[in-house]
Chain length 234, copies 2
DNA sequence: CATGTACCGTACCGTACGGTACGGTGTCAA
DNA sequence: TTGACACCGTACCGTACGGTACGGTACATG
């Protein structure tokens, strides 16, 4: 079993060749977040263009640039999304709706399958977190947080750490039921797992530290974090 | 022993009543960062005004607002700092130069004193990270990272996680020499400690999650993180 | 006193950008 | 064919803001 994607409001580019959406994903279940039906196909094209601009230039692109990149008129943009913040918000919601969570096992858990599930989850998470799109979206959301003009921060928070926690909780509880884990609060276990996996990775990439994290490094860190987590809570 | 402050380019307000600069700090040693002599007293007043604006309005304040708040002319600002980015950069460097690291014990370590040192350090760190000034500076730095216009990200990175790691390394090494800790690379131990202490706290506050972390909560988390760290590496 | 320096306050300039208006085109339906 | 509609492209408007210029004041120096 291999998880290729993860929530976090931050998957990867939206191009059809995007490996992060390729396989191993449960696209069947109705999304908890804003459904796919929220935006028309043409609108999705526009929002994907915004995502590209966001990655290339960061927040700070002009509405005119969006119109140019998406071959649509500014008037249409304002008609559809109200204002620039609305456009940005719609973009983040659109990206969030694209993300599908990987399935996590919840029955017949053994120490090995639990470890494997956690490790795969951690690796996907690290991959997502260090991706261009995740970085761009988180930067935008961080910039906008603290001014009440938009709710980007809230949306990214909900689809990032909060969604992760909700996703992992059943696995943790199943692990505890199976006698494989020990903890009082699932939230405590989640915080520890989050910390061990992410550590300073996210803040460093957000602050612009270059130096790609290659796949072997990611696997190694995911494995180490999982082992440590199981040492603490196993 | 009690640590009242910490690096991280993110201490606390610069007002004279600022408790974070009040005591328990080794202000004697020459700073590794830009020295105090870099800016004139009047310039420091201006930069402190910028820090206040940064906390109140975030990045996005106008240069005119700075001039107003600091009772100085825009012309002087441009003469001293070149342009808006120069002003912002100077502000971050000025804040970094203000921060003084707490002393960490390095000899006569016992398991108890090591645990106490780590726990105090962790508590200070959490306090700093969740402070208004830290949040404002990190938000600004994250926003500017990724566009090559300024080096804010690099500066905050250097004075944040990197400075933390350098500061903790001697303690870790001393702990290992004293037979209290086991690890291959100090950087590995640091990442784990960082993750256990900070976890999702920083990204959550940067994304705008409200809900203050009170002192008891901070102490509890610091203690828990330290215990877990010692479980893994002790 | 004369001169120079450093600064404040304000007015000014250019431009970039958010937002609006409008003419032109393709499509669909009666 | 005619009209309604949705949309594109472009021109336009208002304003906010980065950056510059300039007059006026305090002070220091000879």
């Amino acid at each position: 079993m291999r998880f290729m994607n993860i929530s976090a409001v931050l998957s990867s580019p939206s191009a059809p060749d995007d490996r992060a959406l390729a396989s191993g994903v449960d696209a069947g279940s109705p999304a908890a977040v804003a459904g796919d039906e929220e935006y028309s196909p043409r609108q999705r094209e526009v929002l994907d263009a915004v995502l590209r601009l966001l990655v290339e230039e960061g927040d700070g692109f002009s509405v005119a640039a969006v119109a140019r990149a998406a071959s649509c008129s500014k008037e249409t943009l304002y008609k559809w999304f109200g204002d620039r913040d609305g456009l940005l918000t719609a973009t983040v919601r659109w990206q969030a709706s694209k993300v599908r969570m990987p399935k996590l096992p919840s029955e017949g858990l053994t120490r090995e399958s639990l470890s494997e599930a956690l490790s795969s989850f951690a690796a996907s998470w690290l991959t997502v977190i260090s991706g261009e799109l995740s970085i761009a979206l988180n930067r935008a959301a961080v910039s906008h947080a603290g001014s009440n003009r938009s709710r980007l921060g809230e949306i990214v928070l909900t689809n990032g750490p909060v969604a992760m926690a909700r996703r992992l909780e059943p696995l943790f509880l199943a692990g505890r039921s199976a006698g494989l884990l020990t903890f009082d609060e699932a939230s405590e276990a989640f915080r520890a797992f989050f910390g061990l996996v992410i550590a300073d990775t996210q803040i460093r990439v957000l602050l612009g530290e270059t130096g790609r994290l290659d796949d072997s490094e990611i696997s190694a860190r995911a494995k180490a974090a999982t082992d440590r987590f199981l040492t603490l809570f196993g």
